[in-house]
Symmetry: C2
Subunit: 496 residues, 2 copies
Amino acid sequence: MQSSLLKYRQAVMVLRTAGGLLRPARPMSSSAVAEPAGPSIRTDSVPGPRSKQLMEEANKKQLPHGIYFFADYSKSSGNYIVDVDGNTLLDMFMQISSLPFGYNHPALQKVAKSKEFLEMSINRPALGVCPPSDWVDRLNASLLSVAPKGLSRVQTMMCGSCANENAIKMLFMRYMAKQRAGRPVSQQELDSTMLNEPPGTPRLSILSFKRSFHGRTLGVLSCTRSKAIHKLDVPAFQWPAVDFPAYKYPLEQHQEHNAKQEKLSLAQVEETVNRQRATEPVAGLIVEPILAEGGDIHARPEYFRALRSLCSKLDVPLLVDEVQTGGGLCGTYWAHEQWGLDSPPDAVTFSKRTLLGGIYFSDNLVPDQQYRVYNTWLGEPSKVMLLEAVIRTIKEEKLMDSVLEAGTALTKGLEGLSQRYPQLINSPRGLGIMCAVDFADTNSRNEAVQRLRNKGIHTGGCGEVGLRFRPALIFKEKHAKLFLETFDSVLKSMAK
Amino acid sequence: MQSSLLKYRQAVMVLRTAGGLLRPARPMSSSAVAEPAGPSIRTDSVPGPRSKQLMEEANKKQLPHGIYFFADYSKSSGNYIVDVDGNTLLDMFMQISSLPFGYNHPALQKVAKSKEFLEMSINRPALGVCPPSDWVDRLNASLLSVAPKGLSRVQTMMCGSCANENAIKMLFMRYMAKQRAGRPVSQQELDSTMLNEPPGTPRLSILSFKRSFHGRTLGVLSCTRSKAIHKLDVPAFQWPAVDFPAYKYPLEQHQEHNAKQEKLSLAQVEETVNRQRATEPVAGLIVEPILAEGGDIHARPEYFRALRSLCSKLDVPLLVDEVQTGGGLCGTYWAHEQWGLDSPPDAVTFSKRTLLGGIYFSDNLVPDQQYRVYNTWLGEPSKVMLLEAVIRTIKEEKLMDSVLEAGTALTKGLEGLSQRYPQLINSPRGLGIMCAVDFADTNSRNEAVQRLRNKGIHTGGCGEVGLRFRPALIFKEKHAKLFLETFDSVLKSMAK
């Protein structure tokens, strides 16, 4: 795994040094926020009594959630979150991986204090109706400045589910436009769709992977196959799902097994697409670069290159869901940029660390009429303003370099610990700082999350047995070392 | 229609004077923003050349939308929007009815300048994981302070589609919990839902009304029946839809006809729910207080009271979609508060003028486990902070009173004009400032929207022939008069 990782990283370095999208615009400067020297825990365990009291109140007023603790955001800074009981934790989870720069970053403070940010916050436009004068400039300076190669259009949305829902709508529309081959929409189509019936409402499907997660609204939930608790009791479309390669890690040490698994998966894709033609044809395939909620399942670039080719051969558009992998934590702004594709995905969706949802897409996915992929807000300019500062700061401070350094330290450390505690943890893996390790079972994973939190390290689980790390882009090697020492002591105490 | 309207309004006045939720907290103060004296148009038509140029650029970078014009939000104020060509328009559309107070309102400026707003903007928490310390207080001071009677819980979401998607998920979960009657979830259910198959993925439906609009993601799009363009080419669940009463307006002048139509609609609901039991049982019914996108179809409170009773009898939870009717423009914060229900709806969804989406719901809709209705952000604290100021200002400045005054003036004026130009417009109707009038055909409606815009009045269409008005809550009688004069001249020019 290690040498495989290093190979990626070297390739990424080469790419970027050669003039990639994230080449530093200026020499590295330091706008990093002042941080505490390390975690400090004042209560017997986290959550402390004040958090517990607030949870009880919240659970009477909202849906009861599995809240970890209540936080004091005015006291939090950089990589450290402070809770309402005065505990300071190193945050390696970052609001389910949705905060790019941790807490109270100066670059974002500056934007949020500006007159323009205030105006966009209180006069929020409906972007499909009356966009602000600088909207196109803002897109150019933010999302379009890091557009995946080959995709020159972007549509902002509100969140990840919404991005994926609208992306698959575009896939369905593209499929039907091809079927019509220039024929105008018929009255029968218009009438029948009002009854949810064909031909206007076609029987089409989206192909996804088992263990994938693409959101929780009903369309994308039909693609999601991560956990039963995400899906139970909710009606779903009868869409197909195929096996993701059943990799063994480290990837490099199981080349033969892994290549065979990839072939099996690709054969399933082809067979399923062909079988579906008779019933509910596949209008598109959706895949995450790393199956995150499903347990941080990393794959080889070789697989994705083959998948891209296969999709082209089968005329099935490829939708890459970068909601969790995008935004720089993998060491490139988009994880799929490390696959070495000959031709780009047909669409790429994003959210979380990009601060708002959205879709990059190719020209051939533009619907033939306005108002077909639409909603009231269509995103939000104030989020795009913050994102602009994030992207500029990534470049100025060469944060992709430090992400790779910190990620290497973290993954190497996890490798070392898994050799020391093989009965407890296995399969250390990472791309940039998007790292994970598996526990022997769910209980011990949950136990580790709690023990880490009690020692001032905030992480989260994923899949059945995964412990995932989702630190901010300002997470450095020193933070990785601090975590690894604590994790060592936690594992030692658990091994007893 | 007029006397029916007045009756509502009187009843609403009585309700509020008697100590309703929106009783003014303090004597009326004036924080209204300075406004231009009236519209002014500098270009031959709206959009002007600068807007057109920006549209062209935007259409190359995004999905091509039907943008009306690009706006200069720093110059816009109160009820007036200024476009990039220097035109000033009286805005009676307010970003598809999503801005409660128009532009640059002092109460919102104050919030947006605060330290707390800045912190919540740049440290946006994942609310299911690490909410801010004051989260419950904020909910109490905002959404829960205007909670519909009988609904003491609220879950924030991102937008209206997301609110409705998650609300119907709660209805499905409630249905299955009832079916289980305390039996634990079986392994077969857990396994089958991973394949999108029963019993874990049940075959259930949501009943909606023809001409309704509930959003555009795939679950709620299956409920939406407004226009073919919203639905064409997108797979849908085979859920049932029944006729909304085919009212004649003014409602009061067609009592016999309207009562008969209501009975027909209710009979369809009952018959459909009973028929579905054998195939895809109805887990809930979703309805808008005014079918807005479908053409501003107003109904009588009598109908909704009968519908509530019928739903109780059939054991079908009632979900009231107040995305477009909520937030005060109907003269009460929620439109359904004017129905005089004996028992509350089971859930009420909102978005647009509440600045973020969400769901009020009864205790019996709380799922039996955490993490079943969930997503990364689950709403946004900074939006709730703005909403808190909106609700406080509504009370302090008695805006529900002025909404009723302005709405009466607007509806009365529309009634007068429809008597003067019966060949052009008909069916004037309104609840508060949520007003509309129908044109003889789509072309003349579109023509009127354009002519109004060229004269400095910004409105929007709805349904096939409706012209809808969605002004801000600071829209006063004087603005109504100004509009009516312009509309008169437009109709006069069209009548020639």
